[in-house]
């Protein structure tokens, strides 16, 4: 059965199509879907080419800023509003891929991909989805947890970070471009020598990027000392099954997550809060 293509600028139509047809996908940069088509994946039967200015927009909105689902990594890197995401976006793929890969695609990328999403989790971003009446917002973490409901993502909303600062690192085998062994994104707010807020997310480590609540709890409330960091690192594996693949075993990934959280927060220790 040949592939069907629908071009539309109506998000409502696109949302209905993907909700009702499991073979229908909204095409982002093509970096995931085109490969599946080349390899004969029969699950991809219907491509929706959705257009509209909002989808590529990167602009301030009340209380934060919005990034359209079809904004590419290169678009993110070119947008001063999205400065917090520059390091994560630059860590995705190589130049050609960054010109193609989209924010929306990154949300649904299979691990070990999803570096930008890891950072978005630490920034407490919300997924902006299409609904019958217009737009809905839901925490990104919820969207990632429920992969069975097929929602049309229009973009993400990144709230103002206040005094919090994002620390980000990605470990790969091949440099400068490589898939993640582990990606760590930690947003920390500090006041009076104490950590007042910590959001810590990991990518490459499990079936999807996730927030590590145990780590966050361990970090919050006290000074960012070596002992606190070490205690926090031991909580990374709580409630997850680390992923094994051709790059590394789950055991190694978890070990590296601990090391890189320590190294990342070790640098944060010395940095201005």
């Amino acid at each position: 059965m040949p592939i069907e293509i629908t071009r539309t600028d109506d998000p409502g139509l696109a949302a209905r199509l993907i909700a009702n047809d499991r073979g229908a996908y909204v095409m982002g940069g093509g970096t995931g879907l085109m490969r599946r088509i080349h390899e004969g994946d029969q699950a991809v039967r219907h491509l929706i080419l959705l257009s509209g200015p909002r989808l590529r927009q990167i602009a301030p909105e009340r209380g934060g800023f919005f990034i359209g689902a079809q904004a590419s990594m290169a678009d993110v890197l070119a947008a001063p509003e999205a400065r917090a995401l520059h390091q994560p976006a630059a860590s995705v793929g190589a130049p050609a891929l960054r010109n193609m890969a989209t924010v929306g695609g990154n949300l649904f990328a299979r691990p070990p991909y999803g570096d930008l999403t890891t950072a978005l989790l630490a920034l407490d971003a919300e997924a902006v989805t299409a609904s019958g009446s217009g737009e809905d917002r839901r925490p990104l973490a919820l969207l990632l947890e429920d992969r069975t409901t097929r929602r049309l993502v229009l973009g993400v909303f990144v709230p103002d970070q206040g005094g919090a600062r994002l620390h980000y690192t990605k470990m790969t085998r091949s440099h400068p471009r490589g898939a993640s062994i582990v990606t760590v994104a930690a947003s920390l707010a500090r006041s009076g020598g104490r950590v007042t807020m910590a959001r810590v997310a990991f990518g490459g480590l499990a079936g999807a990027p996730f927030r590590a609540s145990g780590v966050e709890r361990a970090l919050t409330g006290g000074p960012l000392g070596s002992e606190t960091i070490a205690t926090a690192a031991e909580r990374i594996g709580d409630g997850i099954t680390p992923m094994s693949d051709a790059l590394a075993s789950g055991w190694y990934r978890l070990e590296m997550a601990k090391i890189h959280l320590r190294r990342l927060l070790g640098t944060a220790q010395g940095s201005p809060s």
Binding site: P2, I3, E4, I5, M27, G29, G30, T31, M34, R35, I37, H38, E39, L47, L49, A74, G93, A94, P95, A96, L97, N99, M100, H175, P176, R177
Partner: protein, 156 residues
């Protein structure tokens, strides 16, 4: 299902039909007869099919053909005429190709770098070609060739 698509290919306007799901790489190679972009993986992992779309470096294998409607598409063939690009000369002088299969994509990536950053550092060169795999050379002569052109173009 076929869809008409109109775009400029290396400066020349072209119009043809594309099948649903067809990649730009397939369109260029099988329908337009431009064999300079190569199929290396179809996964976005090797850069052998690197082309420029509206001046931006892209992978032809992951580009749905009908999305280039109205765009300017350039392959390494655009750089070779009427005269060779200095990068092509440098690749020849530096023995920066062995089997030659990655070379067209590599040169497109390098040219895109130099157009936006005429004086790249070695690390910037490495970053710029990091999506273009080479199995033969160990990259060293490729990096040297690109840096040599950068030095030339800046001093000229």
């Amino acid at each position: 299902m076929t869809t008409p698509v109109h775009f400029t290919h290396n400066g020349r306007p072209v119009s043809l039909f594309t099948e649903a799901g067809e990649s730009l790489l397939s369109l260029l190679r099988l329908k337009l007869g431009d064999q300079t972009p190569k199929y290396g993986c179809g996964q976005g992992g090797c850069g052998a099919c690197s082309v420029r779309i509206d001046g931006q470096l892209r992978l032809a294998c992951l580009t749905l053909a009908e999305t280039v409607d109205g765009a300017e598409v350039e392959t390494v063939a655009a750089l070779s005429a009427p005269n060779l690009d200095p990068l092509q000369e440098a690749f020849m002088d530096h023995f920066a190709a062995q089997c030659g299969y990655c070379t067209p994509g590599m040169i497109v990536a390098a040219r895109t770098l130099l157009d936006t950053n005429p004086r790249p550092s070695r690390d910037e060169v490495i970053e710029a070609i990091s999506g273009n795999l080479c199995r033969c050379t160990g990259y060293e002569p490729i990096i040297d060739a690109i840096l040599a052109v950068a030095a030339q173009e800046v001093s000229a």
